[in-house]
Symmetry: C2
Subunit: 222 residues, 2 copies
Amino acid sequence: MDTLPQGTPARRRPGRPRKADSGDTKAEITRAAVRLFARHGFTGTSTRAIAREVGLSESALYAHFTSKQALFEAALARFGPQGSTDSHTAIASMLAETDPPRFLAKMVSDFLEHWDREEARLLISLVTRDGLMHSDALRTALVGMRAYVTSLFDDWLAAGWLPAHLGPAERLAFSFTGPIGLARVMHLHADATPEERTQARADVLQHVELFTSVTFNADHKE
Amino acid sequence: MDTLPQGTPARRRPGRPRKADSGDTKAEITRAAVRLFARHGFTGTSTRAIAREVGLSESALYAHFTSKQALFEAALARFGPQGSTDSHTAIASMLAETDPPRFLAKMVSDFLEHWDREEARLLISLVTRDGLMHSDALRTALVGMRAYVTSLFDDWLAAGWLPAHLGPAERLAFSFTGPIGLARVMHLHADATPEERTQARADVLQHVELFTSVTFNADHKE
DNA sequence: ATTATCTATAGATCTATAGATAATGC
DNA sequence: ATTATCTATAGATCTATAGATAATGC
């Protein structure tokens, strides 16, 4: 009656594994750690649980990482907020000058695609479990996006795409990015159902449409 | 050299305390628990730490709460999301019919005041630490606010305060409440500096102003 | 010799309970 | 007798280390 818990890989044999069996253990550990940290938090996840998930003994973990904290940091660095403002292709940047509303829609939809991937969603779950929500890392990521949008709006205000009476670009960026950031944090996490995620993405795109329709000049001439 | 950690009350004497010394221990425990849970998370907070904070032995805690989980739930119930849609006074509801933009500004500023109080901020910290962020409790609270705003917008669309071409009330509510919710979650938490909180409140109020200025009909006649 | 694993275990916590003690209120 | 506390401790679990073992690659 000695049934192993589901999904638990068999214990490995003692000694160094045969060449054929050797994978990238360090990466395996990191992946498992992120999953567990995201689900149970840092203190809620034991090194034992991580080891079991990978089919290792606890001590083998310490051959790869000097401490639980070091493992957490490696996990965060691996899955952490990438500075993904690299959607700035040549085509996109042309669009920014000829059709700002379409540019924004494209940009946000690119972000959504990125945030909807499992790695990005694990990060959100991680961050909302371990008090990292209010850490500098996340704040920087969010403020970074707002700063980028602010600079875009500044250009568009100068070029007359946006009427000056709407006020400074920062205010516009706050109202524009707010619903997007909230949707990400609330609905694009590891445990969100596909339906919830689909709904969130649709809501965000409609927000972009509404925002651009009420702010941008309809009759702009270059 | 036996210096006690700062803020640690002296151990109480054995036996039932004198009448003069007896306070509301249960409430004291709950308060301390919320503070610690908010700062270190559920598993990151030991019953020992809570007991020490109140100046009790660990076992005295178990006379008041049957388990750590029960204590956590009591804390959450005590400080949990109150259904504070009771800003619906008679005066406010009159404003809703005569001056929607002013009504919205007043409503949001009331919410901000409530959310800026320490109890409300402790709740945010709690929720962003223990995976409660994506719990039904918080989702319901957020969706609840959106639903309320949606019903307001519906009325105002029907009365002609808002032009029909902006689309359904839900979309308006999403764009309106998004930045407000994000600001609360990101900036109105237990560890936020007064400056950060002031900035957040100001940002939110400016968002409300921007939103109403670009959506509401300037020339509405009753 | 080095690398990647194992088994065994030290030492620190952690939750929760048993049983003693001292005040209260009838 | 009841209430509110204490001291002491059981039993589980957690992080981390020491030392053994078996494969690899020179």
